[in-house]
Symmetry: C2
Subunit: 331 residues, 2 copies
DNA sequence: ATCTCTTGAGAGAGCGCTCTCTCACATACC
DNA sequence: GGTATGTGAGAGAGCGCTCTCTCAAGAGAT
């Protein structure tokens, strides 16, 4: 016993398939009593349209690919930015009845897979989350003439609308806060330099130090807690007298705090720490973390809006969200 | 200019559509030189099969719904268990060329949406993650005769194979560790009692205390950091002399540690703390958290195996994964 | 040389739906 | 009363694919 078809509904209601289709798709050119009869048949049979058949003829799938170009397995699982963005985007898409197809693209092999899948017309549009600079995906997808939007500015200049926060400006605010509270040896733990976020936040740090005639002290991490801990130890070796550190994301800041504790430094008395992202965990560190907040959920929602706009044929401008300093106890 | 069809490939290769289809689907009953000709046509045209047309006739979609019945918005974003499970399941499914359709089911409204979608035959199978006890979804889906597996034992006794860890046993190990290290006033911060994990871990705690003739001191949280902090404050008010607390997940343990710090308690000297899950953050708390580890990634992979087994018609037994005590500094 | 059997390839139906085209009928206008 | 104008409903094509059925050609058996 298979699922009922539109044919069955039409037969039961005593109308043609075309009329049944009209009712299913909410067209208004159906007389009320006929509409009711069809509706009753639908309810009685438990009819649900076959999506494959529908998208075969409409050439739409009502699905959106959410492609996560994850930098590494650890970050995806641990960094709440990802889940928050995925969650918000999902909710926004569900609100307009689009399905979310989640694709993880970590290796070159999976890149090919994603590309093939998108090319296969399985989805109406693509949302790209957080790719590395060398990521060939944005360019490849943009070539496929599929509507694509990106969470975070693509590293390669490619014609894809995106939503991002003001990474440079945010970093400047954070570092300036350290300068203004009297810190003089301000180091930074930067993010990976093949990621736009990593580059921009480092640029913001450098901008402020240059203006203040302070020396820059840089260690590079990869946005994981572990790398933050390692980088902090290295910074302390390089310059034991540093009195502040701007960390490019909160996850690394958590690791940095641990290293500072292990080295006997008091935060913020000996060393002030400023993070970036304002993840939930930032409230629970010892001491609670001063950090830069940006509206991840709103960014994801805006990204959905951008994509929907693309469907309507509208030209889509990049959206930049503001960044705000949240002062807690670490700086 | 639209995408090339099988028709076009066949024409270019000078064969029939049927033969082209045979090559695309890797059937062996095609002479080598014809197969090569078709393959060349495919490459030249950049042909990709239309999935809608294919699944219309095969009645398969090669997609799996990953339904996350999230307890609350915060947990999904913050608890790395979710992202780890989602990630591992995705990877395992991609390995067998199945697509992952991510669906969040938080409200009753979205439950209906999910049910309709599944009923619509959009997917070949369903993986359910972490539902509440009152969740009607497992029963509803099982009624739809769609293959369903669950991450975590369903609260309602329903015929769905699942993968879980030994929550009761794990909790017992954790609490026994506290007893054996001389703690006498052992409280617990339990998880939500409408979740199986919440219930079972509390049951494990109670089992050990009963055997040891110790009094149980219980506060209930909802698996968020915040609720852990609140619950800990409450426990300290109720029984200022408690010397240990077993917390039903690490996220709440992080909150509990903060409350303990704020109340001036030293950990583990005054109060020992044992968590559950061994999330990455557990290594970075002050002090690092003693907790119970279970293999989330492996569980997710096993769940995929379970579902694939269901497709083959195999009867599927529940899989229970072991839990292991990781001793750090908090207990 | 005739018949059977295997192998490779084509013809064509049909999966379930949408949507254009067509037409019957009712209403309005001169 | 005849023509123009709507309006509601049906007929039927066709979306791109798979898969069964059919058949031609060659190999092997008698």
């Amino acid at each position: 016993m298979r699922r009922p078809t539109l044919e069955a509904v039409a037969a039961r209601a005593g109308v043609s398939r075309a009329t049944a289709s009209r009712v299913v798709n909410g067209q208004t050119t159906v007389a009320p009593h006929i509409r009711d009869a069809v509706q009753r048949a639908i309810d009685e049979l438990g009819y649900v349209p076959n999506s494959a058949a529908r998208s075969l003829v409409t050439q739409r799938t009502d699905s959106i690919a959410l492609v996560v170009s994850e930098p590494g397995t650890r970050v995806f699982s641990e960094d709440p930015m990802f889940s928050t963005a995925i969650r918000s985007a999902s909710v926004a898409l569900e609100a307009v009845n689009k399905q979310v197809v989640l694709m993880l693209a970590s290796s070159a092999k999976s890149h090919a897979r994603v590309e093939r899948y998108i090319a296969g017309g399985h989805v109406d549009g693509v949302m790209l989350i957080s790719m590395h600079g060398a990521d060939p995906l944005p360019a490849a997808l943009s070539r496929l003439r599929v509507p694509v939007v990106s969470y975070g500015r693509p590293a390669v200049p490619v014609d894809i609308p995106y939503v991002d926060n003001d990474n440079v400006g945010g970093a400047e605010i954070g570092v300036r806060h350290l300068v203004e509270t009297g810190r003089r040896r301000i180091a930074t733990i930067a993010g990976p330099q093949d990621m736009i976020g990593g580059q921009d936040r480092l640029a913001g740090y450098r901008n402020v130090l240059r203006d203040s005639d302070l020396r820059s002290i840089v260690a590079i991490g990869d946005f994981t807690r572990e790398s933050g801990a390692v980088a902090m130890r290295q910074l302390l070796r390089d310059d034991p007298d540093l009195d502040a550190v701007f960390v490019a994301n909160d996850l690394m800041a958590v690791g940095a705090l641990q290293s500072l504790r292990q080295s006997g430094r008091r935060v913020p008395d000996d060393v002030a720490v400023v993070g970036f992202d304002d993840i939930e965990a930032a409230k629970y560190t010892e001491p609670p973390l001063t950090t830069l907040r940006h509206p991840v959920a709103e960014q994801a929602t805006a990204m959905v809006g951008l994509l929907l706009g693309l469907f309507e044929g509208g030209p889509a401008e990049p959206v930049i969200m503001p960044t705000e300093l949240v002062i807690r106890e670490s700086a």
